[in-house]
Amino acid sequence: MKKNKQLDLYFDEIQTNEKEHKHLEFRSNIVVSAFLIIFLIISLRLVFLGFDKNIYIYSKNNEQLFYERRDVIDSNGILLAKNTASYDLILRKNKVKNIDSILIKVKINFPTVKINNVKSEYKNKEIIILKRNLSPSDYNKVISLGEPSLELSKKEMRVYPQKNLFSHILGKIDIDNNGISGFEMYYDKELRDTKKLSIPIKLSLKTNIQYLIHEELSKGIKDFSASGAAAILMEAHTGKIISMVSLPDVDGNDRKEIKEKKYLSKTTKSLYELGSVFKTFTIASAIDNKIIGKNDLFSDLRQRVYCGKFPIDEYRWDKSKKNLTVEQILVKSSNIGTIEIIKKNGLEAHQKFLENLEIFEMPKLEVVELSKPNKNRWGKCNTFTSGFGHGISTTLLQLTRAYASIVNGGELPNASILLNSEVQKRRVISEKTSQLMNDMLRANVDKKNKTEGSGRNADINGYFVIGKTGTAQKPSETEKGYSKEIVNIFASAFPHPKPKYVLTVLIDEPNGAPQIWKHSRREAGWNAVYIAGRIIQKIGPSLAINDLDLVKFHAAYSKYN
């Protein structure tokens, strides 16, 4: 049988084609599968990337604009304290190649850096702080040096733009931004409240008034060669403090440790016997108890009285001090007359009245530098002497509050430096007593009064100042009894008959000023009163800007309207 070769060939061809086709199909399947797998992988990756949120955001912005402590501003919005960015210069040991050349560069650019200290620290520490709180020029020097081992470390710094002005009130913070004194310490928690960092704390203080009082007190210290001075200006009806100055003081931006006693706050921390200013309270108590009247006469007053063995003398006694009305006892500042009033009022009533004025309580104010006055055991003699402010001590702040209650209609306000704090006050004397006291205190300052009052040097025309002086010897620091040094006070208010402002001025250890008075007397009438007058003259126009009542009282108003 003959084979059909052609058919075979054809069959072979078909067979070969089928094989090749299968082979091709297999290969194309592999390629397509590979493509599909790659496509699926890419697609899946794309899906994942599509759902991934953060990968493309190159940095999440978590920077905070506000610093760790809130700003503090005065009642006019002027900045008193603020945190800002600051830089420290540090030396990083592991980046140092040649320590000597670096130290030479540091010495040339930052002469205040103590190289010997750096050398000793270099042996033990990895990071050495060379200089804190760099100035802008120092910052630029570090940048231009370009030394890798010299680094800038960013931190926060508290700045007090008004320098000395509020240093006793605001206090200070440490390098970790914690309050360590003054308002900064008392209000630390509120100042660091993270939810309120953008909201400044508003104080009742006024920078312009603070400056004027600061300036006048500084001049007063020079004029009377005093060791220090202090003043408080308070709103009589609210207890809000407008100004509180204690001298000497320090720049709040200066980070030095203060140890000297003279820098203690003379307004809230130092305790003083405040002298005859207390006669105001003695008389107010007796009038309020309806024991005496303004014109009641005390006759046959002696030069000296005895309490047991102890003599109590009249100050500068003359015949004119023999028969005195209540007003004259205040104006002539009669110690013996005051004792007679206490006898008439009753010792217990007098003691209770002083306690009711919170003279012996811990003062309340938003600062930490406060002192609790020592409460005496009441005896007969110290009750008598307390009538003219001897034998009892308190702070200038407590005196200012008590004085506010006498002149404002009879309500004792709580002192505060916070503008928006709640006003708290309670009645201590009647309105009528307050009005009578104001009239008598005006008589002590009025230049037209024939009985020349000790406060007449503060009778600034147009402000109708009222007030009472006090001169007290300071207790000796070395031995028992009193020293020769004195402290003088003038507690004043204006304008009469409805005072809105209480101003108390204290001069510590003053001397006579013959260049002003042509004599060397050093009682309060010749220094504290004079300074208070100058202060009222200067601050009056500033206070009147937002106070139409005060404007109407001024002489200029009646002249031009």
Binding site: Y58, Q162, A556
Partner: protein, 89 residues
């Protein structure tokens, strides 16, 4: 059959491409926002520093010193009238 797959893949691919287009655009906007936010913070920080500087420059002590240095005594005309009123006995 192939047509169905092709359409499905095409829609899937188109969807993915759209997502990524939007994603890229969002990223660009986010970068711009980020830069603007940083600029705002930088400017605000500058304002805070300026506030401190203003506090120093406008302090009563400095103004008083400048007034003493550059202003004549009769510059504030009200002062003389005011002194007269206060000295009136």
């Amino acid at each position: 059959m192939f047509k169905k797959y092709f359409i499905s893949f095409f829609i899937l691919f188109l969807g993915l491409a759209s997502v990524h287009f939007l994603k890229n655009k969002t990223r660009e906007i986010e970068i711009k926002t980020e830069k603007i936010s940083k600029n705002i913070i930088f400017m605000q920080e500058n304002i805070e520093v300026q506030k401190i500087e203003y506090g120093f420059l406008a302090s009563p002590e400095r103004i008083s010193n400048l007034a003493k240095k550059y202003l004549s005594n009769d510059y504030i005309f009200l002062t003389s009238e005011y002194i007269k009123l206060n000295e009136k006995k």
